[in-house]
């Protein structure tokens, strides 16, 4: 017996999650095109882990498997984590990350819809704190790699750690442009010197990375057009980065990178459209979303520039996740016929 509508729009959690995955594809394709097979293998591996861990957690909690495995939320977590890790990350790194993402951040908090923190970012945070070395070994863009790995070689490296004969680790991996800037500045070089010393910098961001960021942007706009994510979060997030980075850049051109450089990184675009927009752990009111996005963008730059980690998106979003209940409570919009506060 129900008094709620007897008819439903054709919509479901699975549809929402599958559309998110579909909108990630442009970025994923650009990633594979620019950086090789590693990301494809890691996405597949993370997906397998996600489904297995989700099934295990559901079983332990005596939840029905079918509807919750089919909802696709575990796959989204898997993809977001895999896309945040170095594409040649060893298999166990992904495993540890996924255990924390699905097991701790999602199911220990009560499962789908109950998690305070973005599960993928919790997995990422655990890894970057616990395994900093592995987390900074990023694949070099194919155009710069002296020995681009084949599919088989990538597979062997991820699951066995072995490289083809005669190939050293330095030929395969490199630091990200963001990391390069951070380390260079620590060594008291100026921005121009750092840029001149490395071939990793592209026209706006990093070589290859620019394309991945562009792919995420395209998918993200599609996600907005499909009404899956609201415009406030990505717009405010990118604005937060741009304004903070812009202010620093204006204050000291020689030391702080241009705002466009900060925005054109894959992590910023992924964060803006796919991670900060996670509905469960994000703000729900229009003004709240602006605050959430601005705060996350601001913190991203602060952590990138002044923090001890190569990137700040994950911590920025986790910190803002903490503020969501407060933000939502403070920004409740007026209801119909309620005196609009001036």
């Amino acid at each position: 017996m129900t008094a709620s509508a007897h008819i439903l729009e054709k919509n479901s959690v699975s549809r929402v999650m599958l559309l998110v995955l579909a909108c990630l594809l442009p970025g994923v394709l650009a990633y594979a095109w620019q950086f090789g097979w590693g990301i494809v293998i890691n996405l597949a591996w993370a997906s397998v882990l996600a489904l297995a861990l989700e099934a295990l957690a559901l079983g332990l909690r005596s939840y029905p498997l079918k509807p919750f495995l089919a909802d696709g939320s575990a796959l989204v977590t898997a993809w977001l984590l895999a896309l945040s890790l170095p594409p040649l990350a060893p298999w166990w790194l992904t495993l540890v990350g996924m255990i924390f993402a699905i097991g701790v951040a999602k199911h220990l908090y009560g499962g789908l819809g109950q998690n305070i923190f973005n599960p993928a970012m919790v997995g990422f945070a655990v890894l970057i704190i616990s395994f900093p070395a592995q987390m900074t070994q990023w694949s070099a863009p194919l155009v710069l790699a002296s020995h681009p790995l084949t599919f088989g070689e990538s597979l062997a490296f991820i699951f066995g750690g072995g490289l083809p004969a005669g190939v050293t680790i330095d030929a395969v991996v490199t630091a990200t442009p963001l990391d390069t800037v951070r380390t260079g500045l620590l060594q008291q070089h100026t921005l121009d010197e750092i840029r001149a010393a490395s071939s990793i910098f592209g026209s706006i961001g990093g070589v290859g990375g620019e394309w991945v960021a562009a792919g995420y942007l395209v998918g993200g706009i599609a996600l907005w057009a499909l009404r899956i994510v609201p415009w406030q979060v990505p717009a405010a997030f990118l604005a937060g980065i741009w304004l903070t980075a812009g202010f620093l850049h204006w204050a000291d051109v020689g030391r702080y990178a241009a705002p466009w450089f900060q925005i054109a990184s894959p992590s910023a675009m992924l964060g803006a459209f796919f991670i900060a927009t996670d509905p469960v752990s994000g703000a729900t009111t229009p003004r709240g979303r602006l605050i959430f996005g601005l705060g996350a963008g601001f913190l991203t730059v602060i952590i990138r520039v002044f923090g001890g980690y190569p990137d700040g998106v994950a911590f920025a979003i986790l910190l803002m996740n903490l503020c969501v209940p407060l933000i939502d409570a403070w920004t409740r919009p007026p209801v119909f016929g309620e005196a609009k506060k001036k």
Binding site: A3, A5, I7, E9, V13, G113, P279, T284, R332, F336
Partner: protein, 547 residues
Amino acid sequence: MELHRFPGGIHPEEHKKESSSRPIHAAFVPKKLVVPMRQHIGQPAKPIVRVGDHVLKGQMIAEADGYVSVALHAPSSGIVTEIGLASVPHPSGLPDLCITIATDGRDEWCERTPVDWRNTDPAALRGHVRDFGIAGLGGAVFPTSIKLDPAGGPAIHTLILNGGECEPWITCDDRLMRERAEDILEGARIMQHLIGAEKLIAGIEDNKPEAIAAMRTAAQKIGVAIKVIAMPTIYPGGGGKQITKTLTGLDTPSGGRTTDVGVQVFNVGTSYALSRALNHGEPLVSRIVTVTGHVLRPQNYEVLIGTPMSELLLHAGEREGLTGIIMGGPMMGFDVPAMDVPVVKASNCVLAKSKELFPPRPPEMPCIRCTQCVPVCPAELQPQQLYWFARAKDLGRAQEYHLFDCIECGCCSYVCPSHIPLVDYYRFAKSEIWAREKEKRLADTARERHEFRLFRLEREKKEKAERLAAKAATKKAEAPVLSKEEQDAKKKLIQEALARAQARKATVTPKNTDNLPPEKQAEIAEIEARRAKIREIANQPVEPEKP
């Protein structure tokens, strides 16, 4: 005229064509009519007939009980066979007091006396409206006489005839406007007379062009100054606050009514019923009902109140695979508890369900806070937050988030990707709040009574003490001092009385069981033992029966 857009809303499939193409089918008289006493908001009507009475069509069978109530009438002629609990169309599924009439098939009217409403005192006229049983036929069934009473409230400048009919499938107002527009407008004339509104507007969604044309033609023909406006088709555009916004641009204050901004809204069916009552002397004994969905011939019927819905389905052609009946539309209607529940004044639609047309709701998934419910909410609420508060029984927060502004239109549950029956949660929270408020009221009353009792006891004690003190004072002043002999004589008297009493006690008063034969005595002892046993059992805590 400039139209305004109310916030929120959805566009579900309309399904109007199925039933709107056929004309209204005249009322048929079923063998049995079951008339519930509670068909309107407020106090249920009080039966004034007895079992065995012969009643004529239109004869009052139950009178209005108080101000917020309306009368009820025999929908057809026949004999009252039962006054008692029967199954009624209510989401609770609980039976309610009904008068059952076995019809005689003659459908014989009682004497119909029209009211000269132009020359009747307004208060008396509203009394007539109540005694003719008129209540809002748009679905809320609020007593119309109260809405027609401008006293005390803000002045009404605009009267809106609501022909929105925004719910899918329902076409009863559409057909009524197409076929009986003149009576609708005559009713509006009476309303305007009583309320004194300057402006009269009829709002009709633009998916009913024939109805719009018919209303305009009729207005011209009988000379009623009314603007007939085609509104965009958006659900829930026919809601009172929504149609007010669309037609006047006025925002009804949160927690308030449209009358707060000087607008009163009536459903076209109500207006029609009002005209039939006052101009023709016909009380509300029938209404137009859309019978549609999984039936062979979906169409509108003029149905006698009390007609079992199952009989309506037979008339419209029952089909295999019927899975239930929704009373009302698919958005705000509810599943009736039984197929044979009667049609009541609120029954605008009898919607036959099948698995194909209305598949069961998929299992509920957790809320992912996607907020797809927010932009569709016409009250601009935060449905996802209200859902959390309702689940957590955080009723204070729910009220802070304006739970009571929810009009239960169902837009949120329509779009929810987790298929959560959100409106059920809001209804639950609302009823919980009402229950607690009632409890609190009762507790307050009890506490006040208790406090007053303590106060009274204290006061009485004080008064008594004062009285005694005063008495003692006067006694002391007046009492003669007894001499030694007198005191001794008194003591002696007391002693003697005590001795007499003790002597009486010594001779035991015989019991009436003493002289019985031993068998009887044994029997009595056994009965006493059994009673003791039963008492013992009765005092034991009840244990749930094991299956």
